[in-house]
Amino acid sequence: MAGIFIYSEDTNVAQQMLTMGRELADKMQQRLCAVTIFEQDAQDLVDAGADKVFVLKGDSAWPESYAPAVADLAAKEEPIAIFIGATLRGKDLAAKVAARLKSGLVTDAFAVRLENGDIETDRVMYGGLAVCTEILQGTSVVTIPPRTFDMPAKVSGRAGEIVKLDVTVDSTMAVGNVCPIVRQGADIATAEKLVCVGRGLGKQEDMQLAKDLAAALGAEIGCTRSIAEDYHWLPNETYIGLSGQKVKPVLYLSMGVSGQVQHVAGIRDSKIIVAIDSNENAPIFAAADYGIVGDLYQIVPLLTEAIRNK
């Protein structure tokens, strides 16, 4: 059993995982290896902390088709654990790799630590209600959501071995017509500051209140599931929650959000949570750092004003 492996088709996610990987590898005196399917990313991964980078060269641009290659490499190298970026493509590949290796797979681990010699992971269960802690046994696959760890400090020109391997890809499917989703607002998952709208907002025209506050704060606008999926006041990409976006802003400010457990599961990594709601007993206040109990139609305009001329 040797080495800690890291893979993601998204090099940023891969580098973020190297931050955790480096720490883990050092504690376990193991080599930190990264796997990539893009040769041009190899040196970046070394600079970000990887001791060895395997570049899988196959004639396909479709990341999911590299599952057999990743699995074969892991079977040969027998790493202690394989951390894969939990993008949707990453989860698809991770499940295939775990099946081939007949190994366990922990999905969306938000914490990884060493506990008396074993690697332990924490993940969410029952729609955000509970946290499940597992101890990895044998070579195990773990997927890590983007931005769980910060980008590492890179040392340009860091020494590290880069190995290129020619691999066969799984080409049983024709993949075509790849077109980017035209995103209307900015990507709220990476927004620094967020204003979130909930059912406490009476009608769509009142969205202007949120827009003014967001403009004053320099924040993006997100919402709860029903605002997007049932009322269609905002696109589906902007609803925050377990089955929606998971956000990690410095400031999350909610107006008229009651705070169901599935929504709170999407905001729990925010640095500061502020809630404005008329119901003093709304669950959101239990999840908030700061809050105001009051009518958002009075509070929000005043807050916008206060921020504008602070």
Binding site: S226, D230, N281, A282, P283
Partner: protein, 96 residues
Amino acid sequence: MTVKKQGAEELLGVNKFSVDEEEPHIVIDKSICAKCKDKPCLVICPAVLYTLKDGEINFDYAGCLECGTCRVMCTNKGIVKWTYPRGTFGVAFRYG
């Protein structure tokens, strides 16, 4: 949360609901309600779903306990539709 005076919304939060997003089972006509003098619904709804917001009756069917008191007491027929929610929707009591 140990026993204390609790708002209706917090109490309803303890129950289990499956909200029918497509078809509200109770619908009111605010123009009729505006002419209603005594507005009994404000007092007799156990879930306090009828509230007065700047002079206008405001109603949200999502927390309904399906008792029917509002229908019985709404003599001015501001409630233009009162049916049970569609099958499998609405409140699901765990104790009862």
